[in-house]
Amino acid sequence: MTLVVFYLLAAVTLLGAMGVVVTRNVVYAALALLLSLMGVAGIYLLLFAEFLALVQVLIYGGAITVVILFAIMLTRLREYKGVMENPQWPLGLLAATALFLVLVAAFLVDSPRMNVEERLAVPFLLLGGSLFSQWAIAFEVASLVLLVALIGAIIVARGEDSRERP
């Protein structure tokens, strides 16, 4: 039963990801991305990571896809219709291969731990507690990165001319 659901979700994820790359319509690509991300959320749910699954739905399903769609609708779609080639593809290939190798390596090293039968959901309180005690530094670094990105976005959005003003 779980295996069937897993293969279904994996198929949804992969087909969505394929759709993002293959389709010629940018809006379709964004919606295929949404499908793929929802599939990932389903896999999280299958792994008893309920909180992560809900975060995935909230952040990627709600916020990020909507912002991507917003940006696409603001641009002139016709100019980008049918644009398929991307000069950065060798770099992308390199990054994707590297990530794939890292994931395979991690899986091979850690696989005994993956097979543990007791796949219990981490209680939400425990998650919060460890996030703010054991992983506090990582948490703070992540929030700092987000803050930097926010400030950077504001500076970029203000544009060239207003940057000279104090």
């Binding site: 809006v27 919606l31 949404l34 309920e50 909180f51 809900l54 975060v55 739905v57 909230l58 399903g61 709600g62 916020a63 896809t65 909507v66 912002v67 769609l69 917003f70 609708m73 603001l74 209680p123 939400f124």
Partner: protein, 368 residues
């Protein structure tokens, strides 16, 4: 075993669908009657006693109408969009309790589930706007994306305040913790932020920027007709009801009422919810629609900072273990300060104008 579970789930879904239909019909009737009374009219009276069958007649009319699909529309997305909008507003009901036992499935992260699922309906709105291939619809889609993503933040932050007080995201626990004092008394600021942002989330009148009829003739729904439009309509009313229901559960103590036996729990919840719904209708009769820049400014410069203040105040009260009335006082103080500031900024131009007129009249009289 599994068969029984499936049967139970199916029965729950059917009951939910019937219940929601009745709720939406009652809301439509209530809104028209209540608005009528507020505007010195009597509302619909012709169909059935007190116009009670008016919404039924409306529903029949909507279903029988021709379903027009624009020639240039993206047909597939045009069909999927209403469904994508409707499904989340249906899914949230899985975890909403009407009493300690009357809930389809109580989730430990019920509140977070509610927030995460309801966000997805924005995609349906944007999709509807884009696939209609109409300028008004695309403008509406853009507006809905901007508005809903912005107002989602204060909703989440206001809910977070309640979660801090209750120490749980389980809706049953949240209600149980309000046995002695409902959170409306502890955290009036949180309630204000949640109610205002919630009304903005469902796009009701002071915040109906994206369907604004007088500007963009219905926004993302312009090109929809017949049964498809009815689905959007249904989703809007269900979402309104959900916001009112959440206000009831999070701030008004849910099914708790002094000296009432537990049998009355669903009735208490429904009465409280309909009262909150009437407050939301009252908003519609009172406030004019905001402009889009006012909407974004209000969201980002007033509601979001207020929701952060709410969290910080709650944190201070919890950390130093102050009595809960101290949080009530702080919360109320912030609300009053904000109300006064809003009053000053809103009325300042008019008052300056009045002053200058009276001064001019005075000097003219002196000169004459």
């Amino acid at each position: 075993m599994i068969g029984r579970e499936v049967a139970l789930a199916a029965a729950g879904l059917v009951a939910l669908f019937v219940g929601l239909s009745v709720v939406v019909l009652s809301l439509v009737w209530l809104e028209r009657k209540f608005l009528g009374r507020l505007q010195g009219r009597i509302g619909p009276m012709r169909v059935g006693p007190f116009g009670l069958l008016q919404p039924v007649a409306d529903a029949v009319k909507l279903i029988l109408k021709e379903d027009v699909v624009p020639a240039w529309a993206d047909k597939g997305l045009f069909w999927i969009a209403p469904i994508l909008m409707f499904v989340p507003s249906f899914m949230v009901w899985v975890t909403i309790p009407f009493s300690r036992d009357l809930v389809i499935r109580n989730l430990d992260m019920g509140l977070f589930y509610f927030i995460a699922v309801s966000v997805v309906s924005v995609v349906g709105l944007v999709m509807a706007g884009w696939s209609s291939a109409s300028k008004y619809a695309i403008l509406g889609g853009l507006r809905s994306a901007a508005q809903l993503v912005s107002y989602e933040i204060p909703v989440i932050m206001a809910v977070l305040g309640v979660v801090m007080l209750a120490g749980s995201m389980n809706l049953l626990t949240v209600v149980d913790k309000q046995a002695s004092v409902p959170y409306i008394l502890v955290q009036p600021l949180g309630l204000a932020v949640f109610l205002i942002a919630g009304v903005a989330e469902v796009g009701r009148t002071p915040f109906d920027i994206y369907p604004a009829e007088s500007e963009i003739v219905g926004g993302p729904f312009v090109e929809y007709s017949g049964a498809h439009w009815a689905i959007f309509f249904l989703a809007e009313y269900i979402n309104t009801f959900v916001v009112a229901l959440l206000v009831t559960l999070l701030f008004l103590g849910g099914w708790q009422w002094p000296h009432l036996p537990g049998v009355w729990a669903p009735v208490v919840v429904l009465v409280k919810t309909y009262l909150v719904v009437m407050v939301i209708f009252w908003f519609r009769a009172t406030f004019p629609r905001l402009r889009i820049d006012q909407l974004m400014a209000f969201g980002w410069q007033v509601l979001i900072p207020l929701s952060f203040v709410n969290i910080v105040l709650t944190g201070i009260q919890l950390y130093y273990r102050w009595p809960s009335w101290s949080l009530s006082l702080m919360s109320l103080g912030i609300i009053l300060a904000m109300a006064y500031w809003q009053y000053r900024t809103q009325t300042a131009p008019a008052q300056a104008l009045a002053r200058s007129y009276s001064q001019r009249a005075y000097s003219q009289r002196r000169g004459a």
